[in-house]
């Protein structure tokens, strides 16, 4: 008896007991669908989070000036020259984004917007996603020639000029504490924290980016305490970080004033937490799959008992033990595979609906589908083995006498 024939015969037997087969499958359906739902939501959530971080460039080392003991002298602060030095001396570094910032007001004659003023370079857009709504972002010339320009974000532009298009070319006065500077708006970006800004409305602070070269004029305290260093890859990030710190120490003739850390360590941690979370809930859902499997085993044992005589007849007609084994194993496999397919469809649908509701993409991969089929076949074979073996070992005479 070949595999195909036992498959067809098993399918007939599953069909001839529709209600029972369905109830047995239900356990598998619930098990598989809950596993799939949870895994696909987990995967989708991960994709969403990783996607958000992806825009920011994840190959980043952050260099800080350590200020634990408050013994930082003027000569310890980072300079634009340091940025150039690092970029020149270490080949793995693609760009260095120095940053100096403070809170202040951006004003027109009529209106004022509270905002964060950041002194940055043209490379800033490699670190954070900068989507221009109008005009352009800072370029190399703006930074090199220390132009009196500013790029503001959407909420600032809306508050001061009604819409982003109108802001371009307008003059604003930037006030940080007692420091006033007149700057020209050259671009409007989408607000970095779009959702948050929308929630807080007008009260949410805006952002203004100025060339870091005019920080001295714009910001009362323009010392650079922070570099974001972008690398080609994170493969040797520890060695590179050490190299950068040593380079800075050499150039500043000091020691122990700089700390380096991987930019998006949080991402890895978040990923890990999410993975563990998915695994734990997935495992709990997996328990229902085991319960479903026990249901399959139970019904297969009933089926073996009910069909004792059939087994006897088949054996009398020449069925070998392995033929009987295969017959019952195929039946439990089919129960589980049909249940698995229905469960997977339900799980994907449910994952899709829940994903839509909490606004994450659907994380269904071929891996998830393979997982579902793998799991349900494994359950089918594992829990079918005992009943099938019991059937195969029946004595033909006793089986034939069974009433």
């Amino acid at each position: 008896m070949n595999l195909m024939e036992s498959f067809i015969s098993a399918l007939q037997s599953v069909r001839s007991n529709k209600m029972r087969s369905f109830l047995t499958m239900l356990g598998i359906i619930i098990g598989i669908s809950s596993v799939i739902t949870i895994v696909s939501i987990g995967q989708g959530g991960k994709q969403a989070i990783v996607g958000e971080f992806d825009d920011m460039g994840t190959n980043v080392i952050n260099i800080n000036v350590k200020s634990t003991n408050n013994d930082i002298e003027d000569r310890d602060y980072l300079t634009l020259k340091d940025a150039e030095l690092i970029k020149a001396k270490i080949p793995e570094v693609t760009s260095v984004v120095p940053a100096a910032g403070d809170m202040g007001n951006i004003k027109t004659e009529k209106d004022t917007k509270f905002a964060e003023i950041d002194g940055v370079t043209q490379d800033f857009d490699k670190l954070m996603p900068v989507d221009m709504l109008a005009g352009r972002f800072l370029n190399e010339r703006d930074v090199e020639t220390a132009r009196n320009v500013i790029v503001i974000d959407e909420i600032t532009a809306t508050k001061l000029f009604k819409n982003p298009e109108k802001a371009i070319g307008e003059k604003v006065k930037v006030t940080v504490r007692d420091n006033n500077t007149n700057l020209t708006v050259i671009g409007v970006t989408e607000s970095a924290s779009g959702g948050m800004a929308a929630m807080f409305g007008d009260n949410y602070p805006g952002t203004g980016y100025t060339p870091i070269t005019i920080s001295e004029r714009v910001l009362p305290d323009s010392k650079i305490t922070f570099f974001s260093v972008m690398l080609t890859s994170m493969d040797n990030s520890k060695e590179i970080a050490t190299k950068i710190v040593r380079l800075l120490e050499q150039s500043h003739r000091n020691e122990g004033k700089y700390a380096a850390e991987e930019g998006f360590k949080q991402l890895d941690m978040l990923n890990n937490v999410l993975n563990i979370f998915t695994m734990v809930i997935g495992a709990i859902a997996g328990i229902s799959l085991i319960v479903g499997g026990i249901g399959v085993m139970n019904i297969m044992l009933v089926s073996v008992t009910e069909r004792t005589r059939e087994i006897g007849i088949r054996k009398a007609l020449g069925a070998k033990n392995k033929d009987i084994m295969l017959q019952f194993l195929t039946e439990s496999l089919i129960l589980c595979l049909i249940g698995g397919t229905i469960g997977m469809t339900l799980g994907i649908l449910l994952g899709f609906v829940v994903g839509k509701a909490i606004n994450i993409p659907l994380g269904v991969s071929p891996g998830v589908i393979l997982l579902a089929f793998g799991f349900s076949s494994a359950v089918g074979i594992f829990f079918g083995l005992y009943p099938a073996n019991k059937a195969a070992k029946l004595d033909p005479i006793e089986a034939l006498r069974y009433e």
């Binding site: 008896m1 070949n2 024939e5 007939q12 037997s13 001839s16 005589r309 059939e310 006897g312 007849i313 088949r314 054996k315 009398a316 007609l317 020449g318 069925a319 070998k320 033990n321 392995k322 033929d323 033909p396 005479i397 034939l400």
Partner: protein, 236 residues
């Protein structure tokens, strides 16, 4: 020689007592014989049928079926022997209720590993041979007792076995159906089929050519049937 049984013993060991079901049986059955095995219940005739049918193993002695010493074979080898050399006809028909007449007749060929097209062809031929050409797509519950037994006979024939073992084949049938079934057996025997039939009814045994009578695990009589009833080998 189809069957040669030498000094065959069968002892059932229940743990507490040992029951000697067959004591030193010697029996030879030639090709194209038509033998009735008779005796009261408990006489050992069913035990002998189980052993002849390779469903049970003997305790001691030798059983040679169609030149093969089956007393030394393992479970799977016995299954293959049952499949190829033996055709069973049971009192309770023992058809699979979910399969059609055709499907039931195909079953021994399925286990012989025959391709589907050839199986269907042979199964149809066998059903026509027992006069059921028009009922082959019916399930057992749509057939009368006599028709069911004809399906079973067709099933026993399809692998061209060395011998047909019939265990009380008319025990569940009315007189008319019984006569028909005996007619079919007679016809098959005329065509060269070897048949061994267990029965306790004298008038059924009267259709066969040779009667072997058991009592208490031994053969007490083995002789040609006199005044044999001949129905002329009708098959329908």
């Amino acid at each position: 020689m189809i069957i040669r049984v030498e000094n065959l013993k069968k002892i059932y060991d229940t743990g507490v007592i040992q029951v000697e079901a067959l004591k030193e049986i010697n029996l030879e059955i030639e090709k194209n014989e038509y033998v009735a095995v008779m005796g009261a219940s408990g006489s050992g005739k069913s035990t002998l049928m189980n052993i002849l049918g390779c469903l049970d193993r003997l305790t001691d002695g030798k059983y040679i079926l169609d030149d093969v010493d089956v007393s030394t074979l393992n479970g799977n080898e016995l299954a293959a022997i049952r499949n190829k050399k033996i055709g069973f006809v049971f009192q309770a028909f023992n058809l699979l209720p979910r399969l059609t007449a055709l499907g039931n007749v195909e079953l021994p060929m399925v286990y012989a590993g025959m391709p589907s097209a050839e199986r269907v062809k042979k199964a149809k031929a066998a059903l026509e041979r027992v006069g059921l050409g028009d009922r082959m797509h019916h399930r057992p519950n749509e057939l009368s007792g006599g028709q069911k037994q004809r399906v079973a006979i067709a099933r026993s024939l399809v692998n061209d076995p060395a011998i047909i073992l019939a265990d009380e084949p008319t025990g569940n049938l009315d007189t008319k159906s019984s006569e028909e079934i005996m007619g079919i057996f007679e016809g098959l025997n005329n065509e060269g089929v070897t048949i061994v039939m267990v029965t306790h009814e004298q008038d059924i045994a009267q259709h066969t050519k040779r009667a072997v009578v058991f009592r208490d695990g031994s053969i007490i009589s083995d002789k040609q049937v006199e005044n044999r009833i001949i129905r002329g080998g009708i098959t329908a």
